[in-house]
C-alpha cells in the first residue's frame, strides 16, 4: 500500500470527496471485511458490517487525525460494530459458505483440504468464544493492538482487558485441542 497516496486520499475524503473515499474503500475493504468475518463467521453479515464501518468512518472523519493510517481505525470501528451486532442479534455460528483456499504458494489438493479443515477449526473455535473474548483475541492477535489500545477501543479498564485476554487464550487453546481430537 502506498502510504503517501493513502494519505492524500484520506485528506480529500475528509473534505467530502466521495470519489477519493471510494478508492479508500477499495484499498481497505478486504481487511475490514476479514475483521468482521472472524468476529461473526458469516459472509453476508461481515459484508454488511464492513460496509457500515466505512459509512461510519466517513461520517466521523472530523474526529480522525488524517495524518494517521486509516486501516487500524477502520478495523476498530468494525470490531465495535460486530460487538454491537452480536449483542443485538446473537447470530448463530455460520461457516456454511465454506472457506476459500489459502493464498500462494498453492499446496497440493490434500494439503489444501487439510489446511482448509484447520482454518475452519480455528475459526469455529474463535466463534465459540463469548463475544468479549472474541473481541480481545481479534484486537490483540489480528490487529496487533497493545493492552492499553484494546482497553481504549473497547472502553474497558486495563485490568479487565488483561484478564479477558488471558482467559480467552486459555479457552481457545482448550477448544482447539478438543476440535483436533474430533
Amino acid at each position: 500500500m502506498n502510504i503517501a497516496k493513502d494519505r492524500s486520499l484520506i485528506k480529500l475524503a475528509a473534505q467530502g470527496d466521495q470519489d477519493a473515499f471510494g478508492k479508500l474503500v477499495q484499498l481497505h475493504q478486504s481487511a475490514v471485511f476479514n475483521v468482521a468475518y472472524r468476529m461473526l463467521g458469516n459472509r453476508q453479515d461481515a459484508e454488511d458490517v464492513a460496509q457500515e464501518a466505512f459509512v461510519r468512518a466517513y461520517n466521523a472523519f472530523k474526529n480522525f487525525d488524517t495524518d494517521r493510517p486509516m486501516r487500524p481505525w477502520l478495523k476498530k470501528i468494525a470490531t465495535n460494530l460486530c460487538l454491537n451486532r452480536i449483542k443485538a442479534h446473537h447470530p448463530t455460528l455460520s461457516l456454511e459458505n465454506g472457506l476459500p483456499p489459502p493464498k500462494e504458494p498453492k499446496p497440493s489438493p490434500e494439503a489444501q483440504t487439510a489446511n482448509r479443515e484447520q482454518d475452519t477449526q480455528i475459526r469455529t473455535a474463535i466463534l465459540s468464544l463469548a463475544p468479549h473474548y472474541r473481541a480481545v483475541i481479534e484486537l490483540r492477535h489480528f490487529q496487533n493492538l497493545n493492552y492499553e489500545e484494546i482497553a481504549e477501543t473497547l472502553s474497558k479498564p486495563l485490568s479487565s482487558v488483561k484478564s479477558d485476554l488471558f482467559r480467552a487464550r486459555k479457552m481457545l487453546a482448550e477448544k482447539l485441542k478438543e476440535l483436533k481430537r474430533i
Binding site: 467530502g16 473515499f21 474503500v25 475493504q29 459472509r43 476459500p100 492477535h141
Partner: protein, 193 residues
Amino acid sequence: MKHLTEPQLNEYLDQMLDVPTQQKVEAHLSDCEGCRAQIAQLEILFSTLDELPEVPLTRDLKVGVLAGLPKTVEIPTLWQQPAFLAQSLLTVILLTLTMPILNRQFDSLSSFFTFPVIELTSFAEIIAKLSPLFRWDFRFSFAFPEISFTTPTLPSIPISLDTNIVLLLIISAGMMWGIGNFSLLRSKPEVRK
C-alpha cells in the same frame, strides 16, 4: 520453586513486561520445565492464529458504501444562478431607463420642501474654542489635498418612456424578483462540507 503466574506468562509473550521482570521470567524459564511447557502451548496458539489466512471478498463493497453516504449537492453561488443574474440585469436596465423620470420626480418633490441649513462647526473651531481651557496651546494645521468631484451623469437614452411602460417594467421586475427568490429559497437537500 514458585511457578510463573498466568499474567506473567502472557505478558512475557506479548512483550509487555519491563526489562527487570522480563529478565527474571527468562531466568525462571531456563530452570522450570513446567513453565516452559506452558509457554510452548501459548506459542502454538499464537502461531496458529498468525497463520489464519484472510478470506477474499467476493464483491466490491464500494458501490454499497457510496450509496450509504450522505448525498453531496453542489449549491451554485449567487452569480451562477440564472434567476439571480436575470434579476440583477433587469434591475440595472430598469434603473437606467427610469432614472430620468425619477430624477424629474425628485426635483419636483424637492421644490415642496426647504431644508434648514445646518452650520456645522469645524473641528479646528472646536479646538480653538477649547484651547484657552487648557494650559498648553494647540497649534494645529492640516490641509486636505484639493479634490474635485464631478457628479456622474447617466447617458441620455433617446427613448421616451410613458407611465405605462414604467409600470410594465416595474411589474416585470417584481415578477423576476418573485421567481428569483423562489428559486433561491426553495428547500435544499442535505449538504456536507
